[in-house]
Symmetry: C2
Subunit: 262 residues, 2 copies
């Protein structure tokens, strides 16, 4: 299948059940987003949590009103109930099932949040000739829980989860410059170097994703990660929350380049 | 004496011999520059050397024609022969004397170059709340010869000299962002972390300036340094070259903030 498929065409295939894989590498150049859907009596606090913690929780879109399942600002004819290949349904913080659409569980009080994801900045790093180790090694990026507290908002709280990409210092400096242009997809790294500085005891044992090789002369570089809001949601235990399944993202009509602040 | 003196007033005092100290901390907010003056038959090659190596050798001004000693683009009534507190005169690459003005040795074939200096970006780092260790410890910044080759131009060649400021990784990331805005005063760092990666064998023994404390949890961060062109000039051995004495800079009417590219 052609990976250059347009976001619209890809969403239509997903809606018809004809595309059921993860979305990594498809519709290159376009923003893929993390999904979080929850009842309106939880949504205001979650919105505040995101506003207070913009590096791990950058909002790139949300529904205008509770119950809205169309998100025209993010894509033509985009139906959030059907246009993601695989959803996760959480009840009271527990994963209860994975489903290919959420029409059956949709309610009039559900509010949708779409958050920026690292795919966007990885594309810019690659375009600049930098190596992204998890892409080279064809694994999920390694992610770690840290001791960096998020600012709490109501029932939402937790520590920051980071993703890690090893780089030579020279390349890390360039990556900091590139990612600074993209605050809505996690922005500049939070840390580089000693993992213990941010509470990571064993870099070879990620809490999420897969370990990658760190070569001689490289340092681990850590970015705020979109798993952070998922952990905060698990801590908050809303009665219902719908997310994407990791890697099965919402593919939007927004160009990655349009997220650059300069 | 008031450190907030205007650049014009400071230059007038220098010209009259009433200010003979180093210029660090005076006329804050204004660009201070490194000086290099040489005969025109050497100047074109030096200009090319600077163009090829803009991080260590950022040109912020030069004389319009050989023999010009007024530099109106850099300051009102700025006379490069008299407006620096202490000059160094080199002959065939050897320092022969330090003098308070160069009227006696001025010639019609001399071309003046003014290069950006780290004072400008240090001001922006301090303004952002970052610590600059050499300022805290009231010493000259430590500088080191590296194994990073400059691109040669004619008779000018050499390796890059770097300055070093230790920082926590979080602060180093912010410093990279801030300095990226100022390409004409050395721009973003070249390296951080392991000094041996760039050919520095002993971080406690700088080749120029003074050692500073590196605290637990900090990494050394390395910027291209204006001593680089001085080393290239020493290597090239022009029959005559005039520079400022370290710390005794040309104070211009250009605001540091105006050097920001965004």
């Amino acid at each position: 299948m052609d990976t250059n498929i347009s976001p619209y065409d890809l969403r239509q295939l997903i809606r018809k059940g004809e595309f059921t894989r993860n979305t990594s590498g498809f519709s290159q150049g376009y923003v893929q987003g993390n999904l979080a859907i929850m009842p309106k009596e939880w949504a205001n606090e979650f919105l505040q949590f995101c506003q207070l913690n913009p590096k791990p929780c950058p909002i790139i879109g949300m529904s205008s009103n509770p119950g809205d399942f169309l998100l025209p600002d993010l894509g033509a004819d985009l139906d959030i109930r059907t246009d993601i290949p695989l959803y996760r349904i959480y009840e009271h913080g527990e994963l209860v099932k994975e489903v290919s659409d959420v029409k059956q569980v949709w309610r009039d009080d559900l509010v949708t949040f779409v958050l920026g994801c690292s795919f966007s900045f990885e594309e810019s790093l690659l375009a600049d000739g930098l190596e992204v180790r998890n892409i080279t090694e064809q694994v999920n990026v390694p992610m770690y829980r840290t001791n960096i507290d998020c600012k709490p908002a109501g029932r939402f709280s937790g520590t920051t989860v980071v993703s890690m990409r090893p780089m030579k210092p020279k390349d890390a400096i360039r990556a900091i410059q590139i990612c600074t242009r993209f605050p809505s997809v996690h922005g500049a790294p939070l840390h580089f170097g000693n993992p213990q500085d941010i509470g990571i005891s064993d870099i070879s044992q990620p809490d999420f994703g897969d370990a990658v090789t760190i070569k001689e002369g490289e340092v681990p570089v850590f970015w705020a990660c979109g798993v952070t809001p998922q952990v905060a949601i698990e801590n908050a235990r809303p009665p219902l929350c719908i997310t994407h399944s990791p890697g099965y993202m919402l593919v939007t009509d927004i160009r990655n380049s349009s997220l650059a602040i300069m």
